[in-house]
């Protein structure tokens, strides 16, 4: 006979701490109070606009308004979570946040939620998502186990979702104008000419051991052909590196090869440590005569077109199967 077991449809924590109990009742009251306050003090759209314009006109905000990285041979760029938070503040009566709903150390993941809430219109958007406790490294995905790193990893993933939630809530035109002002601020910032800016960034990157060729490869064209948008991109990347959001090695790869790299002459008398294999049939590869010119075509029996015995020469194995299936 089957045992009948009690079934709890929703998993509840085994123990509710005092802080949690207080938070539960506080949250319920806060929801009510926020909505009431928003109704009492509705947003003044003109004032929101003014605040946004003022904020986006500062170089500090403008320089942190966009992110950019390289994927699929193109720059991927967009507004940052910093801009999202600032716009939420300017727009007013917007609450937002992220919460870790549960953490599973065995499966190595956290279930999280990002949300944004317009308390005045009562419009709420949220997204629940899983964050694996792992990090992409050059040697594959590495599990993250220490608490601080898990926290940081969760916070990073949540920030991106939060950004989307806030932008989903804000009017499109409000965000579009903010981005436009930020771009103008970046371009007009200071009194440097285009050439001066290019020189400034190339020098700044050079101080971080990033060569002009690497920067040019990142942008996709030589420095003298850079347009205003390219310089903006550089500015964004430079700030991201400066703020520690990105590592130089992740942004700029090795320098692309030039023709001169290929034709560089050999250093006389130096060689690599190559040892002989010493197999009994190793002699099948014939030593080259000193007078040989390139390309060396081994003795080619039968090249005269005369039917000949193939018994000459060392017997060899069937031609190899290599990986040059490319092409034909």
């Amino acid at each position: 006979m089957t045992d009948v077991q009690s079934f709890t449809p929703v998993q509840v924590p085994a123990r509710v701490g005092q802080a949690t109990a207080v938070e539960q009742s506080r949250a319920a009251t806060e929801v009510l109070a926020s909505v009431q306050a928003a109704l009492m003090f509705p947003r003044d759209v003109q004032r929101s606009l003014m605040e946004m314009r003022q904020s986006c006109s500062t170089e500090y905000m403008a320089q942190r308004a966009f992110y950019s990285y390289r994927r699929g041979g193109e720059n991927v760029a967009g507004p940052t979570v910093q801009l999202a938070r600032e716009l939420a503040r300017c727009w007013g009566n917007v609450h937002y946040g992220v919460a870790e709903l549960s953490r599973d150390d065995v499966a190595g993941q956290s279930e999280m939620q990002a949300w944004a809430w317009d308390v005045q219109t009562n419009e709420r958007v949220s997204s629940t998502f899983i964050v694996p406790h792992g990090r992409d490294t050059k040697t594959g995905v590495k599990p993250i186990e220490d608490l601080r790193s898990i926290y940081e990893n969760n916070a990073n993933a949540a920030a991106r979702r939060l950004r989307e939630m806030v932008y989903a809530l804000l009017p499109v035109w409000f965000r579009a104008e903010a981005e436009e002002i930020c771009r103008r601020t970046m371009q007009g910032g200071g009194t440097m000419t285009r050439e001066q800016k290019i020189a400034f960034y190339l020098e700044a990157f050079a101080r971080k051991s990033v060569s002009q060729r690497q920067v040019e490869a990142y942008i996709g064209r030589p420095a003298d052909a850079w347009v205003v948008g390219d310089i903006d991109t550089l500015q964004v990347v430079f700030n991201e590196i400066k703020d520690g959001v990105k590592l130089i090695g992740d942004v700029f790869g090795a320098e692309p090869l030039r023709d001169a790299d290929v034709t560089a002459p050999a250093v006389r008398g130096q060689s690599w440590p190559v040892q002989g294999y010493g197999a009994p049939d190793a002699g099948t590869s014939q030593p080259l005569p000193e007078s040989a010119t390139w390309p060396v075509t081994a003795q080619i029996p039968g090249a005269t077109g005369r039917r000949r015995s193939v018994q000459e020469g060392e017997p060899q194995d069937v031609p190899p199967i290599d990986d040059y299936e490319g092409g034909e």
């Binding site: 050059k138 090249a303 069937v318 490319g326 092409g327």
Partner: protein, 291 residues
């Protein structure tokens, strides 16, 4: 059998492909096959070898002549240019049994034309330069064809192997690892597609990884020399972007980890680990049949 890490000359190609490393090793082709197919197929190909196609045979012949590895080539005699004839078949089979690479006269002429065009290409010519002359006297061999490398992965301890088409001597410039590829189309867009389709960026990174392990402190960079197999035998010399290199690094790491895990467990799973799979609708079909 090779039991120590190192660079080895004169490892016969057939021995390399059968795996000269005691206890087994992962090659660059293997690293692509184990991820792109599955461990079960990879294992079968390791044990049984892959089927050689005429394109591969021609590629091998081009390698032999262009790189001058000294393998013998047999050109079919004048009356035996058609393999449907019994005489031609006998001549071909005899030659193949003797270990020769068999080419028809037209193919041989093509390969020679390719070698000539490659030598005259300003970049490719110097990549594969064999000898360094001074005042008509040979002072440096200039490089070695077909060098085998064997190393142990520092993360998993798995044994890996590589075979460089050409090991250049130390130069004033970056340490380049050239690899020669024959192709029907060496245009830039075709070459990009070919690299992506066959995972040549992954091959390049695998070689760089191996050479770094064997020659600590060096920063080798793979570079591909694509040559068309029809006149005028155009050549394109190609390096890979930082982004492709990063992708290749990730894929090769996954491949080595997977290989090491299979070796450790002795299990070589198939495509879906023996489980049932639910087919999803591909994007292109959804466009036609979707709601």
């Amino acid at each position: 059998m090779i039991t120590e890490p190192g660079l080895y000359a004169d490892v016969p190609e057939s021995v390399y492909h059968r795996d000269p490393v005691d206890g087994g090793s992962l090659s660059s082709t293997g690293a692509r096959r184990i991820l792109d197919t599955c461990p079960a197929k990879f294992r079968w190909e390791q044990d049984n070898g892959r089927v050689s196609t005429p394109a591969m045979e021609f590629g091998t012949a081009a390698h032999t002549i262009v790189l001058g590895t000294g393998k013998p080539i047999h050109v079919m005699s004048e009356g035996n240019q058609d393999f449907r004839k019994t005489d031609a078949q006998i001549e071909r089979d005899e030659a193949m049994a003797g270990g020769y690479i068999v080419l028809k006269q037209a193919e041989y002429d093509r390969v020679m034309g390719m070698a000539d065009a490659l030598r005259r290409h300003p970049l490719a010519g110097s990549l594969f330069t064999r000898q360094l002359h001074e005042g008509g006297r040979l002072i440096d061999s200039g490089g070695m064809a077909e060098v085998t490398g064997v190393w142990q992965d520092d993360v998993t301890g798995a044994w890996c192997r590589l075979r460089l088409d050409w090991l250049r001597p130390p130069t004033d410039g970056p340490f380049l690892l050239p690899d020669y590829k024959t192709t029907t189309d060496a245009s830039l867009s075709a070459v990009e597609k070919t690299i992506a389709n066959y995972g040549y960026h992954r091959q390049g990174e695998f070689y760089e990884r191996g050479v770094r392990a064997l020659l600590p402190g060096e920063k080798p960079q793979a570079v591909f020399v694509f040559q068309e197999t029809t006149a005028p035998y155009l050549v394109t010399v190609v390096g890979v972007s930082a982004e492709m290199r990063r992708a290749a690094t990730r894929m090769n790491r996954r491949a080595i980890n997977l290989y090491a895990e299979c070796v450790r467990s002795g299990e070589w799973p198939d495509y879906n680990n023996g489980s049932i799979y639910t087919a999803e609708m591909p994007v292109w079909l959804a466009k036609i049949e979707g709601e």
